[in-house]
Structures are given as C-alpha cells and as structure tokens.
Amino acid sequence: MRKLFTILLISVVLLSVGAMAFAAAKTITITYVNFIGKETDQVGATIDTYMKAHPNVKFDYQIVDHTTMQQKYQVMISSNTLPDFFWWNAIWLSQTLQNNPTTLVDLTPYFDPAFKSKFLSGTWNLLATKDGRIAGFPAEMQVQAWMLNKSLFDKYGLKIPTTYEELKACVPVFKKNGIATIDIGTLDPWPTWGFYQWMQLWGIDDQGDDLFLTHKVKTVDAGYAAAFKAIAELKALGAFPDNNATLNFEAMVQMFLAGKAAMISLPSDQLGKIVGQPIEKDLVFNWGINFPNSPYSQKQAIKFVGNGYGVGGNVEKDQDKLKAIVDFNKWRYSNDAFPIALKAGFILPVKVAFNPSSLGPVMKQQYTLINDAMKGTITAAYSPYLRWNTDANIYSPAWGNPIDNLLVSLLNGSMTAADIPTELAKVDVNIDGAIAQLKK
C-alpha cells in the first residue's frame, strides 16, 4: 500500500513538473508581414529586443513586395486568412474592420484609457472606424515634408526658399546648371506628398464642407485649384526633371542622393533611404514653402498617422498569441522601445520622456517638426475621404483618381495649365455623383 502511494505521489510530481516545463516551453510564433527590410522597419527593428526578453515568443518575419502585398491582402480578406500581424495603410485597416469585421481583431478593448492617452492627437483620424473602433496599432507619425540639399543652394548662391516666389527664382539658376529644382518621378504615381500639402495651404480643408458636402463651391473656383496652377507654372519653367514620366520612385531618390536635384518631398516612412547617407549632413528637412497670396492659414503641416499594424481575425482563436501581440505593441510605445524605432527612422506618435540630442541630423529635424507649433493636419486627399464616410469606393473614382491623375499629368507635362479647368470641371460632376450616392 505504501509502495503504491509512493509511486502515485512520484507520478503526480513528475507529471506536474512535466506540465510546467511544457507550458514554459510553449513557443508562440507570430507571423508578421511587411514590405521593407527588418533594419528599416519600425517593428522589425524592435522584435529582436523583444524576443530576447521573451524567449517563448518568435516572430516569423515575412517580406513581400508592396504591390503583391496589397493584392494578397484583398484575397486574404475574402478567405479570412489575414496574417497574424501585418503592416497596412490605415484607411484600409479601418475600412476592413468596418465592412469585414470578422477578418480583423477589433483592438478597442486593448486600448485602456491610460494607454490611449499616451498617443498624440491625430493618431486615430484614419485608424479608427466611423464608430470609433480601433483597427490597428499606430505606425509612425507621418511627417510629409521637404528635404532640401543645402549644399546645392549654397553652391549656386541661393537661399533656401520660404515662399513660392523665392522657389520660382531658384528654377532658372538650377536649370542652367543641369540640376532639377524639385525632384519627381511619375512612373510611380504616388510620391506626390508635398504637392498635396500645397492643396492644404490653399484651403482644401478650410473649404472642405462647401467643396465636398454641400458643393456650394465648385472645384474650378476652389482655393486649392491654385496649387495645380503653381505646379503647371513650375513645369513650364523647367523645375522638374525632363522625361520624369519614366522615372520611378527609387530612381528619383537616387537622383536626389546623387546631388542632381535640389529638393524632394519625402514622408517619414521613406527617411530610411536618407538616414546614414553621405548627403545627410547637408540636408534641411522642413515644411517647404508657403503661399503668401493664399487667404488660408499657412501654419498648418501634414503630420498624421497614415499606416498601422493590423491583427488578423483568426488570432482571436489563440488567446496566448493575441496576448503576446498586444503585450509586444504596448512595449513598443514605451520609453524603452521608443528609441529603437527612432534608430530605424521612425518617430512613434506617443508622448515619451526622450532627449533628441542623440539623434542624427535628419531625425533631429524630424523630431523638431513633429513637436513644433504648426497645426497638424492629415493630407489633403483625406479631406473629401473623411467627409464621404471613409468610403473608398466613392472616394477613389470621384476624387482620388482624377485629382491624382491631373497632378501627375501636370508634373510630367502631359497636361498643361490649359487643361486644368476642363479636368476640374469633370471632378465637379464626380462630386455631384458622390454626394448623390451618399444620400441613398
């Protein structure tokens, strides 16, 4: 009897130890999808540190080409197989949570008031659904500003322009010396951030209700039409690279890094291409020019969170994995992890105790821009988007695509100033259609 009891006792102890060991050894593998390399990705830069501190958590880092990634996500939504943790544009995350709620985890319960209060204003403009549900963990605070190569301006005796007229004055000097004043390539249609900022300075958001809700003000008469006229004028003067219709974004950046262009519009998530390059010490990163003739506030700048990190709906079936993802992200926005993301070139949209003096030249300037007194706005493209219930199916054909096409066409010269009234009149027809659709 005693023997039997002893055997039973030893078995129970062994089983308990085994179970504990098993529980401790249980590895949680999180599939993480992005389109940029680990070193230049804010999450990628932090996961090694996190995994060291949490040996049972493993990140399976997968890089997919950006275009392929966007296409794959659409297919994955249909089959409810979104990755565990993935980068995506904020509007698509919130749209997906709005229209396909089972495919994404609603992160609202994980942002308790104390945690949520850490975030800067403007964080949730695009990452939350219409009814305020949070669709993703915020990516960096996007600063869509201008990078100027000061050494080129100094070389040709020019000062850094602060107004449109000063910018125009630089164009013939640079052109004579084979330098493009403003670097742009339109083979990729999207690197036009700085020009959307010009629409902001010409009041697209200030006039937003009249432009996109009541349509009392027609596009052709709108303040922001002046931004297109300015672009057409600069093209005619020769401010942009010749034949930029076949220049893609990478070639455009290389051109700037090679000193063949004086200024380029780059957002925060592309600064990794500049940080650490020999040219970095000569760069000025600022909000670019203003338009003294504009009746609208010039003290506004594009700083917002445009991208985020979603959690695939299937993760809810594995509570340990979900807990690990939430825990990782809460740590990411802490005082400890903030500098790691910074080193990769990203400033997270949180209030932390941090001394920027240790930063490199460009990152220091970016930090200054984020925290300066300029009113942070979202990019002009979102002015109609938010007013049209964040419905991309209405926004894209009605305004997004035609305006983007006009902008790119003016930059590459396939349209001129003479085409602007006709194209904007077409946009007005589209806006009427969009408003009618919203009323249905």
């Binding site: 709005q98 083979l187 249609p189 034949n243 199916n393 894209s396 983007d404 590459n412 396939s414």
Partner: protein
C-alpha cells in the same frame, strides 16, 4: 478488355486534366463573365448592374485609348514580324557554316526573361537615361532623337519594336519548321520545269507554307493584344494613360486605386471577345478562300 472498362479507364486518365482545366481555366472564365455584369468593388456589397460596366466603357476615354494602343501594337507587330520572321526563317532553313550559332542568337531573346530584356531596352530607349538619343546625337543624327517612351504618341510603336525583337526568333523557327516540311522533290521538279527562284517562292513555297503562316498570324494577334509586361516596366500606361493597353488597363482597374473588379472583368470580356473574334474571323476567312 471489356469495352466498358476501356472507356472507364480512359475517363480516369482524363480526370486529372479535366479537374485542373475546370478549376484553373473554366471556373475563372465563368467567374469573370459573371463579375463583368456586377458592381463589384473592394469591400463593397456586390450586386448585378446589367450593362452598366459596358456603358461606362463606351464613354471611358482611357479604355478607348487602351484599345487603340493595343490595335496599333497588333498592326505594327504584324507589319514588322511577318516579313522579318519570314526572311529569317528562309535564312535559317539554309545550311551554312555557323547556321547553328545564328539559330541560337535568333532564339535567345525569346527564351530570356521578359523582365530582364525589357529593362535592358529601358536603358536604350528611355529619353532621360537611355543610350539611343545620345548615340544619335553623337553620330550627327540628333534630329532623329525622340521621346521613344514616356511621351504622348510613340510608346506603342516602341513597344512593337521591342516585342518584335523578343519574338522574331520564335516565329522564324515556326516558319523554318514549316519550310522543312515542304518536300524537296517539288522544288527540284519546279526547277527542272524552268521556274525561277521568285516564281518557286510565290507559287510553291508560300502556298505550301500557308497553314504555318496562318498559325503565326493567330499567335501575333493573341500575343499583341495581351501585351502587358513591356508596358508595366517601361511606362505603366503613362503619362496620363496615353500608353496604356487593354491588358494593362484591366490590371490597373482591378488592382490600382479603384479596385473595381466588375469593370475590370467587363474589360477582360471585351479583350477575350476581340482575341477570339479576330483569330476565328481570320481563320474562317482564310479557310473560305482556300475552299473557294
């Protein structure tokens, strides 16, 4: 073996192919056909909208430009490829020292990666970074320098030249194979009867090569109307859709900013009808002529 068993075994062997054909060809085609008559955008509630997508196409300048550019590429490739590949095929049919090497050189562009060869051509024809315009200026022909790609008009013609270069070897080999099937005795008999070389080519070689030439024409129609890769790498349909072609426009509508799967499917249907219509129409007309 019992006749029933034989039939059953034949079916069994056919099943895998039928399965893959159904899943990867018939089903996507049927789904595309259905989607063409739907309002179907990303994250939207799909519903049937009868002919709205097709009505939009009639008023869509970009779609009409795409069809026009596809037609230009098809006709240009026909004008370039047909005679050049025929002459090359005749050359490849002759045995001479180094003919094996010539065959290799001719066929190589066809088997190389299309992305790679197009990228190389980019660095030839691009007006900003290509070597063609500086070369023309260097040899005193600067007046011939043009905006070969990225401008308003010349891109489809440049694409035709590039695609002709890529595929001339394929068509030349097809024609060479056709020539090899013509009995030598016929040529010898015609020579004995006093026929000259041009007469033999016109009255003997060409008629006997007719079926091969018909296949070449059909291939040209199909490949030219499906031009995609070259446009993606060189211009992405720009500037301002001026160089877009139907296959690229379909991709742009479905996977660009709009993500309008319904409209893209409708465009796909039009492309399908164009390819089938032209190919079958050509074969029917040429068959009628032969019968007559």
């Amino acid at each position: 073996m019992h006749a029933f068993c034989k039939r059953w075994i034949k079916l069994l062997f056919l099943l895998p192919t039928l399965f893959f054909f159904t899943v990867y060809t018939l089903y996507p085609v049927a789904t595309t056909f259905r989607t063409a008559f739907q309002y179907n955008m990303i994250n939207s509630q799909k519903h049937y909208n009868t002919l709205d997508n097709f009505k939009r196409m009639i008023k869509d300048d970009h779609a009409l430009t795409a069809i026009k550019n596809s037609a230009i590429i098809m006709l240009s490739e026909f004008i370039l490829l047909f005679p050049l590949s025929f002459l090359l095929g005749l050359l490849l049919n002759i045995s001479f020292r180094g003919s094996g090497f010539v065959k290799l050189i001719t066929f190589t562009p066809y088997i190389l990666s299309g992305v790679l060869t197009t990228l190389v051509w980019y660095f030839v024809v691009d007006p900003g970074m290509g070597i063609l315009n500086p070369f023309l200026k260097a040899i005193g022909l600067g007046k011939l320098a043009r905006v070969w790609i990225g401008g308003p008009t010349l891109t489809p013609y440049t694409v035709s030249v590039i695609d002709t270069w890529k595929s001339i070897g394929f068509y030349a080999v097809l024609i060479m194979a056709g020539l090899k099937m013509i009995p030598r005795e016929l040529n010898e008999a015609a020579t004995i009867d006093g026929a000259s070389k041009p007469q033999r080519a016109w009255y003997l070689t060409l008629p006997l090569l007719k079926e091969t030439l018909k296949i070449c024409v059909v291939y040209i129609i199909i490949n030219a109307l499906q031009t995609f890769q070259t446009i993606v790498i060189l211009t992405r349909g720009g500037p301002n859709y001026k160089s877009t072609v139907l296959a690229y426009y379909i991709y742009d509508e479905q996977w660009g900013f709009d993500r309008n799967f319904g409209y893209g499917a409708a465009l796909s249907l039009i492309l399908f009808v164009l390819i089938m219509g032209l190919s079958i129409g050509f074969l029917t007309v040429t068959r009628k002529r032969v019968e007559n």
